[in-house]
C-alpha cells in the first residue's frame, strides 16, 4: 500500500471515531451520532405516512430538507477539522511526504466519509418514500425514476449545504487561524446542534408547512426551491420556472464548490505555514474565577474551585461533555416550548412551560457538571494533589459544592429571573428565581450524597452512578423535578402563604442535607490514594484516587 493510501485510510478512520469523550480523541465521531439522531424521526413518520394518505410532496420536500440539515450539522460539528490542520502538519510534517500530499489525502478522506455518510443517512427516505408514495398501478420505471429524483435532489442539496459551510469555515480559518475558532466553535456547535435536533421534534408533527415553503419567495427558502426543482424535473413533474430554478441550483453548487476549493487551499496554506511557529500566548487568565474564588473561605477550596473552573473552560473533554449536556437541556426546554406553542389549549400550560424551562435546564446542567467530576483531566498530573495532601479532605470536597452552585445554580436562577421578569414582571422574576435557587440547591445536595472524590482527579465512578440500570429513576426524577414542581409553582403563585410554606420546607430540606453532607466530609479525614499494579510503566499512581 502506498503512503498516500495509508494516509487516506488514517484520515478516513478519524471521521468515524466515536470516542469524543476520550482525551485526545477526535470529535468528528459526533457526526455519526447527530446524523443517526436526525435520521431516527424518519421511522415513525414513515409509518404515519403509510396510514394517512395525503399529498406526498411536502413529505418528499421535508426529507430533502432533512438531508440538507444533516449535511449542515455534520459539517458544522466537525468545525475546523474538515480541512488539514496545523496538528496534521506537525505530526506528519516530519515524515518524508509533501505538504500537498497531506492536504490531498485529508480531502480525499473527507470525500470518502461524505460519500458513505450522506447516502447512509438518506437511504431509507430515498428508497422507502417513493415506494409508499408512487401508486401501485405505476410501473417499475416510474418508481425508479421517483427514487432517482429524490436521491439526486437530496444529494445536490446536501452537497451544496456542506460546501457552503466548508467554504465559510475555510474563510474563517484563513482569516483568524485555528486557535481562535477551534474550541469555541466546537462547543457552540454541540450546544446548537442538540438544540436544533430536539427543537425540531415538535415541528415534525406539522410537515404540511413545507407545502407553503415550496411556493415562498423568502430568500432564505430559495435553496430549498432550487433543489426541489431538480426533483420536479427528474420525476417528470416540472412546472413553470422549474428549469430556471434548477439551473440556479446548479450554479449555486458550482459557486460553493469553487469557493470551498479556493478558500480551503488558503486555509491549508496558512495551517502548513504556521505549523511550526510558536503558538501565541493566551491572554491573561480570566479574572472571573479569581473573583468568585474570594467568596470561598478555605485556601484549598479556592484552589480546587479555580482549578475546576479552568478545567471546565479549557479542557476539551469537559468542554464537549458539558456542551452536550447544556445542548440537551436547552433542546429539551426549546422542545417543551415549541410543543406548548403548537398544541397548548390554555394559558396555564404556557405559564407552566415558562416556569419549567429553567428547571429543565438546571437539572440537565447540574447532572452534566456532576458527571464531569468523575472524568479526570491529565491523570498523571494528580501527583501534586497527593504531594500537597494534608490532614483533611473536607476543603477540597467543598469545592465540588461551590462548582455546582456557581456554575449551575447561579446562571440558571438568573435565566429564571430574566425569563419570568420579562414575560410577567419583576416580582414574578424574583419569585421564579427564588424557587429555582431552592429547588436547584436541593438537587445539588441530592447529587452530592455520598460524593467523596476531589473533582476532576478521579476516574473511579461510584456504583451508585450506574446509569445503565438507574436511568428510569433519572427520567422520573427529571419529570418530577421539572414539570411537577413547575406546575405546583404555577398553581401556588396566587397563594403567597402556601408558597412561603413550600419554600420553607424546601429550604429546611436543603439545610438538613447540607449539614449531613458537611458532617460526612469532615469524618472522611485525609485523602487516600490507590496504586496501580504496574507503576514502572505508568509512574504515578494517584489516578485511582478514592477516599
Amino acid at each position: 500500500m502506498t503512503s498516500m493510501l495509508r494516509l487516506i485510510r488514517h484520515f478516513a478512520r478519524l471521521f468515524f471515531n466515536p470516542d469524543i469523550a476520550v482525551a485526545g480523541a477526535d470529535p468528528r465521531g459526533v457526526w455519526v451520532v447527530i446524523a443517526a439522531v436526525l435520521a431516527f424521526p424518519a421511522v415513525p413518520l414513515f409509518l404515519e405516512l403509510a396510514v394517512a394518505a395525503g399529498d406526498p410532496l411536502p413529505w418528499l420536500a421535508f426529507y430533502m430538507l432533512l438531508g440538507m440539515a444533516v449535511s449542515g450539522l455534520m459539517a458544522a460539528a466537525a468545525w475546523d477539522k474538515l480541512l488539514p490542520t496545523r496538528a496534521d502538519f506537525l505530526i506528519l510534517g516530519a515524515l518524508p511526504m509533501r505538504t500537498w500530499a497531506i492536504a490531498v489525502a485529508k480531502l480525499t478522506a473527507l470525500a470518502l466519509a461524505l460519500a458513505l455518510v450522506v447516502p447512509g443517512v438518506n437511504a431509507f427516505s430515498v428508497v422507502v418514500l417513493p415506494i409508499l408514495t408512487v401508486p401501485d398501478s405505476a410501473g417499475m420505471g416510474v418508481l425508479l425514476r421517483a427514487m432517482g429524483a429524490q436521491a439526486a435532489a437530496t444529494a445536490a442539496g446536501s452537497l451544496w449545504v456542506f460546501l457552503v459551510i466548508l467554504a465559510l469555515q475555510a474563510a474563517m480559518l484563513a482569516a483568524f487561524g485555528e486557535d481562535s475558532l477551534a474550541e469555541r466553535g466546537l462547543r457552540l456547535t454541540v450546544i446548537f446542534g442538540l438544540m436544533l435536533v430536539l427543537g425540531l421534534a415538535p415541528i415534525l408533527s406539522a410537515p404540511g408547512a413545507f407545502a407553503s415553503a415550496l411556493r415562498s419567495r423568502n430568500p432564505l427558502l430559495q435553496p430549498l426551491r432550487w433543489f426541489w426543482a431538480v426533483h420536479a424535473i427528474l420525476s417528470g413533474a416540472a412546472g413553470v420556472g422549474s428549469v430556471t430554478l434548477a439551473w440556479r441550483g446548479v450554479e449555486a453548487l458550482a459557486a460553493a464548490g469553487l469557493a470551498a476549493l479556493m478558500l480551503g487551499a488558503l486555509a491549508t496554506w496558512r495551517a502548513a505555514s504556521t505549523a511550526f511557529a510558536r503558538r501565541p500566548t493566551h491572554p491573561a487568565a480570566p479574572r472571573l474565577s479569581a473573583w468568585l474564588g474570594r467568596c470561598l473561605r478555605a485556601r484549598e477550596e479556592r484552589a480546587v474551585f479555580r482549578f475546576g473552573l479552568a478545567t471546565l473552560a479549557r479542557d476539551r473533554q469537559h468542554a464537549v461533555c458539558l456542551s452536550a449536556w447544556l445542548g440537551l437541556g436547552a433542546g429539551l426546554a426549546a422542545a417543551n416550548f415549541a410543543w406548548v406553542i403548537l398544541w397548548a389549549e390554555s394559558a396555564a400550560q404556557v405559564g407552566i412551560a415558562l416556569l419549567a424551562a429553567p428547571l429543565i435546564l438546571g437539572f440537565v446542567l447540574l447532572m452534566g457538571l456532576r458527571q464531569g467530576f468523575a472524568i479526570p483531566v491529565d491523570l498523571p498530573a494528580n501527583w501534586i494533589f497527593q504531594q500537597s495532601d494534608n490532614a483533611s479532605a473536607n476543603a477540597r470536597l467543598q469545592a465540588a459544592w461551590a462548582m455546582l452552585a456557581f456554575c449551575g445554580v447561579v446562571p440558571v436562577a438568573s435565566i429564571a429571573f430574566c425569563l419570568a421578569g420579562w414575560c410577567v414582571g419583576a416580582r414574578a422574576g424574583i419569585e421564579a428565581a427564588t424557587v429555582t435557587v431552592l429547588l436547584l440547591l436541593l438537587l445539588v445536595e441530592v447529587l452530592l450524597l455520598g460524593f467523596d472524590k476531589v473533582p476532576y482527579t478521579c476516574s473511579h465512578v461510584s456504583g451508585r452512578a450506574n446509569f445503565k440500570y438507574a436511568w428510569p429513576l433519572y427520567c422520573a426524577g427529571f419529570a418530577v423535578f421539572s414539570f411537577t414542581s413547575s406546575s405546583w409553582e404555577f398553581r401556588l403563585r396566587t397563594r403567597p402563604g402556601a408558597n412561603l410554606i413550600v419554600a420553607v420546607v424546601v429550604a429546611g430540606l436543603v439545610l438538613g442535607l447540607s449539614r449531613r453532607r458537611r458532617r460526612c466530609w469532615q469524618a472522611l479525614g485525609h485523602c487516600r490514594y490507590t496504586e496501580r499494579l504496574n507503576p514502572v510503566v505508568e509512574p504515578f499512581m494517584t489516578s485511582g484516587t478514592d477516599f
Binding site: T281, F307, A310, R314, A381, I384
Partner: protein, 267 residues
C-alpha cells in the same frame, strides 16, 4: 504541619532510610537501601536506568510506601505524619506531569492553594520564581505550549514555593538550558547553605561531581557506594566520577558496544 515537627525542623533534622525495599509484584525494584542525610548536604543519587533510583525517590517523597523498611525524618517515621512531612518536603519528579490546560501561573497558584499558603505570599513568590527562571513572558500561556525545559522550571518553582526543608529532585536538569542549569546549581548550593537537605538524582556525572558533596550509587536496587566524591575516586583509584561509576555498576565497554552496533547496521 504540627508545631512540634516545625520546631524540630528548624533545629536541623536528618532524613534517614533504614532497610527500605520496594517490590512491584514479585519484581524487586529497591532492596535494603539505608542511608541518612544531614541538613546542608547535597547528595547525588546515581545509578543506571531501571536500577531503582526513581522508586527510592518516590518513597522518600512519600508518594510510594516501602514494601519493607522505613523512612525517618528527625527520628519519626514519615508515614506517622505524612501530611506534616509533605509540608516540609519539595519534590521534582522525573517526568513533567502537569495539568496542561492551566497556565504556569495558574498551576503554581493551585499548588500554593493546596499547600494553604497565603495568597499574597504565593503571588509574590510566583512573580519572583517565574522572573528568575525566565518564564515571565509565558506565565499566562497554557502549559501544553511549554517546552520540556519550561515545564521542568515550573516543577522546580512548584517544589520551592513553600520553602521546603527537604528537596527531592529526580533529574531536575532535564531539558534545561545552560543558563538555567547554572542558576539551579547556585540555587541548590544556597539552599544547602541554609540547612536544606537536597537529594539529587542525575545521569550527568560531571554535574553531580561539581555540585554534590556526597554520592550514593545504586546498582540493581542495592546501594553499592556511599561516600564523598573525592573519597570514592580515591578508593576506586578512578580519575573521575564517571570512571568510578563504570567500575561500580560493572559497565560494559561503551566504545566496543558502539562499534558492534555500527557494524550490525552496516551489514
Amino acid at each position: 504541619m504540627t508545631t512540634a515537627l516545625r520546631d524540630r525542623t528548624i533545629a536541623g533534622s536528618t532524613l534517614e532510610l533504614r532497610g527500605v525495599a520496594r517490590s512491584y509484584g514479585n519484581v524487586p525494584a529497591v532492596r535494603d537501601v539505608s542511608f541518612s542525610l544531614q541538613p546542608g548536604e547535597i547528595c547525588g543519587y546515581l545509578g543506571a536506568n531501571g536500577c531503582g533510583k526513581t522508586t527510592t525517590l518516590r518513597m522518600v517523597a512519600g508518594l510510594l510506601p516501602p514494601t519493607s523498611g522505613n523512612i525517618f525524618y528527625d527520628g519519626q517515621s514519615i508515614h506517622a505524619d505524612l501530611p506534616g512531612y509533605r509540608e516540609v518536603m519539595g519534590y521534582v519528579p522525573e517526568e513533567p506531569y502537569l495539568y496542561s490546560h492551566l497556565s504556569g501561573t495558574e498551576y503554581l497558584e493551585l499548588v500554593g492553594g493546596l499547600r494553604r499558603l497565603p495568597a499574597t505570599a504565593v503571588r509574590r513568590r510566583i512573580e519572583v520564581a517565574l522572573g528568575t527562571l525566565g518564564l515571565s513572558g509565558s506565565r499566562d500561556a497554557p502549559i501544553s505550549t511549554y517546552s520540556k525545559g519550561m515545564k521542568q522550571k515550573i516543577l522546580l518553582a512548584a517544589a520551592l514555593l513553600h520553602d521546603p526543608e527537604v528537596l527531592i529532585l529526580d533529574e531536575p536538569l532535564s531539558g534545561l538550558d545552560v543558563n538555567a542549569v547554572q542558576l539551579v546549581h547556585h540555587l541548590f548550593r544556597q539552599l544547602a547553605e541554609r540547612g536544606r537537605i537536597v537529594l539529587y538524582s542525575s545521569h550527568i556525572l560531571e554535574v553531580v561531581e561539581r555540585l554534590c558533596n556526597r554520592v550514593i550509587v545504586l546498582h540493581q536496587g542495592r546501594v553499592v557506594a556511599d561516600a564523598p566524591v573525592t573519597r570514592l575516586r580515591e578508593l576506586l583509584q578512578a580519575p573521575s566520577l564517571d570512571a568510578a561509576f563504570a567500575q561500580l555498576t560493572a559497565r560494559r565497554d561503551p566504545e566496543a558496544d558502539a562499534r558492534a552496533l555500527v557494524k550490525a547496521l552496516a551489514e
